[in-house]
């Protein structure tokens, strides 16, 4: 197996733009102090940026080019609570929930690098639990809208494209959260069992892992939160 995993010391390398030129110059490894795993998750996330970017872009085009008024998200996503219609309240709660899961994830990464196995596993499970509750709230939101007659091809309030873009964008995001929850539980199990301390080999990869897996998991999870920031701004608030 090729020896590609050594990280190069960067203390002597120039910073800033000069460093960019130095790092990208030929016949060397570009990402000096980044493992292949971290470089690859960033490449994956970049491709995901384009996927969600194109979804939001097609949403913009549909909304800008329709002559039928766009349904008002503030009213569509209102919940009737305590005797009044509170606009967007479920979406606001979902936003806070997802940010909190990002917070617990960041702490999990920190405790992972400290080698605190139990605390890391606990925080990862907590992150997964909060993520699952986000998916549950989204399922509630979907069923409510479907019951009210929203379909990908039409809805009672206005432009027909509303349903198509809504189900596509939030559905794809919800899928990301769901997959993230499954991976979180898997990493939590490995951490809890001490795989990264004992050097137990992975089931699929037959390779020994280390606590960087927690950070890589974290990068994915924070990205899911990041995408929600844009969906919240453009789809729900705009």
């Amino acid at each position: 197996m090729a020896h590609t995993s050594s990280l190069e010391p960067t203390a002597q390398r120039p910073d800033g733009l000069r460093g960019v030129v130095a790092d990208w110059s030929s016949d060397q490894r570009t990402f000096k102090n980044v493992s292949w795993g971290k470089a690859m998750i960033w490449v994956f996330l970049l491709s995901d940026i384009f996927v969600f970017g194109c979804f939001l872009l097609s949403y913009m085009s549909a909304r800008m080019s329709t002559v039928v008024p766009w349904p008002n998200p503030s009213e569509v996503f209102a919940l009737h609570l305590f005797g009044a219609d509170i606009p967007l309240i479920l979406i606001a709660i979902m936003t806070f929930v997802l940010i909190s899961s990002s917070g617990t994830m960041a702490l999990a990464v920190t405790y992972g690098y400290r080698g605190d196995r139990v605390m890391t596993a606990r925080l990862l499970r907590l992150t997964a639990l909060i993520g699952a509750s986000f998916v549950a709230m989204q399922a509630f939101e979907w069923s409510k809208l479907i019951a009210e007659g929203v379909r990908p091809w039409g809805n009672p309030w206005g432009a027909a494209q509303f349903g198509a873009t809504f189900f596509m964008i939030t559905g794809f995001h919800g899928t990301h959260v769901t997959i993230g929850v499954l991976f979180l539980l898997n990493i939590a199990r490995k951490v809890r069992r001490g795989d990264y301390d004992t050097g137990r080999r992975g089931f699929f990869t037959s390779r020994k892992g280390n606590y960087e897996s927690v950070e890589i998991m974290g990068l994915y999870w924070h990205f899911v939160d990041l995408v929600w920031v844009f969906i919240f701004a453009f789809f729900y608030l705009w």
């Binding site: 010391p9 960067t10 990402f31 080019s65 002559v67 917070g103 974290g218 920031v229 701004a233």
Partner: protein, 128 residues
């Protein structure tokens, strides 16, 4: 599989070199206090952007505020939670520059959508 242990050794080397080069160490972790502060800030920014809708601001002010809060939240998540503030610029630019292509795409499609809505308003109304 000797290289795996090398990997771990290098990782610990990187974190033990924090004193020498805090910005460049591979596993540099900010103190937990920083994470909690960012967490709180994200809550406050989300609350503000929710209030934009709750108060019912409209027009240019609404869109500007939404964008400001959105970019502030995205920046915090990427810089602190995703550690981009501690990565070398060579990696950060790989992630931050390509979305500019998306901005160009947005500009193209905005102009295209303007044209489409013009054709619809002009010719659909004739058929009616």
């Amino acid at each position: 599989m000797a290289h795996v242990s090398t990997d771990i050794a290098d990782g610990s080397h990187a974190s033990s070199g924090i004193e020498a080069a805090p910005v460049q160490a591979g596993h540099q972790q900010p103190p937990i206090k920083v994470y909690l502060m960012v967490w709180g800030l994200l809550f406050v920014l989300s609350l503000f952007s929710y209030l934009v809708d709750y108060v019912g601001l409209q027009g240019g002010l609404r869109w500007t505020l939404i964008l400001i809060f959105m970019l502030a939240k995205a920046g915090l998540i990427m810089a602190i939670f995703m550690h981009l503030a501690w990565e070398r610029l060579a990696l950060s630019l790989v992630i931050l520059l390509p979305p500019i292509a998306l901005m160009v795409f947005v500009a193209i499609m905005a102009s295209e959508s303007d044209y489409v809505v013009w054709t619809r308003e002009t010719f659909f109304s004739i058929i009616k």
